[in-house]
Subunit: 328 residues, 2 copies
C-alpha cells in the first residue's frame, strides 16, 4: 500500500494536493474488535474521491468473514457495478502459455448481482436431509448498465470487439436476459463487433487463443473465475489490478490488487507492489488523469522489462524505482 | 460413433456377445418431428447396460433445446450423479502450456444438482423491470454420494489425493454443505490426502501447476467449467471423454465425448473419433472390463504417439488403426 501511495503522489500533477486517510480494516481489526466494516467507517468512506484497498485476508479469519463483511460489503454498498479487470502480457514476464501469445484484453465483470447477492439458505443444517440453496439474481436494470459500460469501453478501443460470456444453454433465464440486452444495446454501437461464448468454451480460448479477446462482459461469478485465469496466463495474479467502479460517481470507486494478502511475508520486504501500483493507474484513469495513468502503466512495463530474477529487490526498492520512472 | 462401436467390438472378449440398438436423437430428429427425447425412447433406453452418446448439437437448433431436452434430461432421468472426466496429457499431443507438465487427474463432477436443476424464472420478461433468477439446489443426499465416490476413486489411485473445489467464501450455504460433508466423509479415508481450493484459484493451478491434481470433486457448474479448461490444457477437447455414471446400477450409465458435433465436417471423414473411443474405454471400465479398458486407452496412447500431422487419416482409418491395436 505504501508503494501505491508513493507512486500515486509521484504521478499526480504538481498542483494537485493529494489528501489521504487510512482506515484500519481487515484481519487485525477483526481479531481485536470483532468488526469488519462498521457503519461509521462506511459513512466516512463515502466522502472520498476514490478508495485504494490493500490486499485483505488471513488464514486465521474464517473463510467468508472478510470477503463478505468487508470486500463484498463495499462493492454492494457503493454500487460498484463495473468490476474492471485488464489483462495484458507485459514483456519479460513469465506466462505458462507456450509461444507467448499477444494478450491485451479487459474483462468487465458485473459487480452487484448474480450469485453474489447473498440470497441463499440452509434447511436442516448438519443432518442427512440438509438442503442448501444459492440464488442468482439478475435484473434488466443491473445487466443493461454494465453491458452499456462494456460497449462504451469496446467502442473506445482500436479493435472494438465485445464478447459476452454466459452459460445460456443451461442457465436459460439469466442467460436470455443477458443475451437479449446484449443484442439490443449492441444496435446502438454499430462499430462494435460482437461475439457470444459459453463460459466453459471461454476458458478454452483463454489458453489456446487469448489474443482473440478485446473486451469481455460477463456476470459476477463467471467474471471472478475468468479473471483469475486471465491473470494466470498473463504472468500471475502478482500483476493483476482491478477497479470496482461506480460510473455514476454517486459513490467512490475502489481499486485493489486481485491477489490476496500473503500474511506469511507481510513486513519482510518481499511483497511485490506491482499489482497495487497498476491499481493506482486504474484509479488515476477513473479520476480523469489519463496521461498520468498511462505514465504509471508505462513505468511498470519498463520496470518489468528490466527485471532480473537473479537480483530481487525489496518492496520499497520496487516502489522507489516505479515512482522515479513516473516522476522522471 | 461407428469407430467407437468398432473399437468396442474389438476390445470385448470373444465370448461376450455385443447387442446394440441405435436411437435417432439430436438435431435431425428435432427438425423432423419437434421431439428431443420422447418418453418411449427414454423407457426403452432403460433396458440397456450402457449408453454411448454421440456428440450432439447444431447451430440450427436454438441454444438450450438439445442440451436441456436431451443431454441434461438423460443425466437427470438416469440419475447420473457422477460425471467422470479424466484428464491426461498423452505423448505427442499439443498442449498450450509451456514445458509440458505431467497431467493425469480426474474430475468427479456432480451431475444432478447445483445450478443445473432448471430451477429459475423470469419476471416481466423483455421489460426494463425484468428479473431473472437461477437457483442452485444442493442436498446432503446428493453431495455425500458424489463425495464418497470421489474418495473411493482417490483411494484406489497411487497418489491418493482429493481436492474439493467450490467457492465457499461467497456461496456460503452451498459451500459449507460441500465442505462439511467433504471433511466428514474424509474421516473414513485416512489414507487420502485432502485439499480445498476456491474455483477461481483452481483455474490458476490448472495452467500453472496441473501436476498437483489427482482427483478433484466439485459441483455441476464448476465441474463444467473446469473440465473444459482441463481438456484444453491436455491437448484439446478432441481428446476429452466423459462418463455420466449411476454407480448404483439402477439406470444405465452414459458415455460421451466432451466435444460438440462439428456439423460442418459431418460425413466428410475428417472427424477425429479419439474422444469417442476414449469414452468407450470408460464404458468398458464401468461395466467391469478393466483390462479391456486399459487396452483401449493404451491403443489410443500408442496411436497418438505415432501420429504425423503431415499425414492426416480419415475417421475410418483412425478407427481401424485403433481397433487393430486393441485386438492385436
Ligand atoms: C475474495 C473474493 C470474495 C473475491 C470475489 O470472489 O469476488 C475475489 O476472488 C475477487 O475476485 O475479487
Ligand atoms: C452441452 C452442455 C449442456 C453440457 C454441460 O453444460 O454440462 C456440456 O458443456 C458438458 O460439459 O457436457
Amino acid at each position: 500500500m505504501a508503494q501505491g501511495l508513493k507512486v500515486l503522489s509521484a504521478a499526480l500533477p504538481q498542483d494537485v494536493k493529494l489528501e489521504t486517510r487510512s482506515y484500519d480494516l481487515g484481519a487485525r481489526r477483526w481479531h481485536a474488535t470483532g468488526e469488519t466494516l462498521p457503519d461509521a467507517d462506511l459513512e466516512s468512506l463515502k466522502n472520498h474521491d476514490a478508495i485504494l484497498l490493500g490486499a485483505i485476508g488471513d488464514p486465521s479469519v474464517p473463510s467468508g468473514v472478510l470477503e463478505r463483511g468487508l470486500l463484498l460489503k463495499l462493492r454492494f454498498a457503493f454500487d460498484h457495478y463495473v468490476n474492471l479487470r485488464p489483462s495484458k502480457l507485459f514483456p519479460n514476464t513469465a506466462t505458462p502459455l507456450a509461444g507467448r501469445p499477444d494478450i491485451d484484453f479487459v474483462v468487465v465483470r458485473e459487480g452487484t448481482e448474480g450469485p453474489y447477492v447473498g440470497n441463499g439458505g440452509t434447511l436442516r443444517a448438519g443432518t442427512p436431509a440438509e438442503v442448501a440453496t444459492e440464488v442468482s439474481l439478475n435484473t434488466a436494470y443491473g445487466v443493461e448498465r454494465v453491458v452499456r459500460d462494456a460497449y462504451e469501453r469496446a467502442d473506445a478501443r482500436p479493435r472494438k470487439k465485445l464478447t459476452l460470456v454466459h452459460k445460456n444453454n443451461v442457465l436459460v433465464h439469466a442467460g436470455h436476459l443477458w443475451k437479449n440486452i446484449f443484442d439490443r444495446v449492441g444496435q446502438e454501437y454499430p462499430e462494435v463487433t460482437t461475439d457470444y461464448l459459453h463460459v466453459d468454451a471461454a476458458t478454452i480460448f483463454f489458453v489456446t487463443q487469448p489474443e482473440r479477446f478485446d473486451v469481455i462482459v460477463t456476470d459476477n461469478l463467471f467474471g471472478d473465475i475468468l479473471t483469475d485465469l486471465a491473470a494466470a496466463v498473463t504472468g500471475g495474479i502478482g500483476l493483476a489490478a482491478s477497479g470496482n467502479i461506480n460510473p455514476s460517481g454517486a459513490f467512490p470507486s475502489m481499486f485493489e490488487p486481485v491477489h490476496g494478502s500473503a500474511p506469511d511475508i507481510a513486513g519482510t520486504g518481499k511483497a511485490d507492489p506491482t499489482a497495487t501500483v497498476l491499481s493506482v493507474a486504474l484509479l488515476l484513469s477513473h479520476l480523469g488523469y489519463a496521461d498520468e495513468a498511462a505514465r504509471v502503466e508505462a513505468a511498470v512495463g519498463a520496470d518489468l522489462a528490466e527485471r532480473d530474477a537473479a537480483a530481487p529487490r525489496t518492496t520499497d526498492e520496487i516502489g522507489d524505482a516505479l515512482a522515479a520512472r513516473v516522476s522522471g
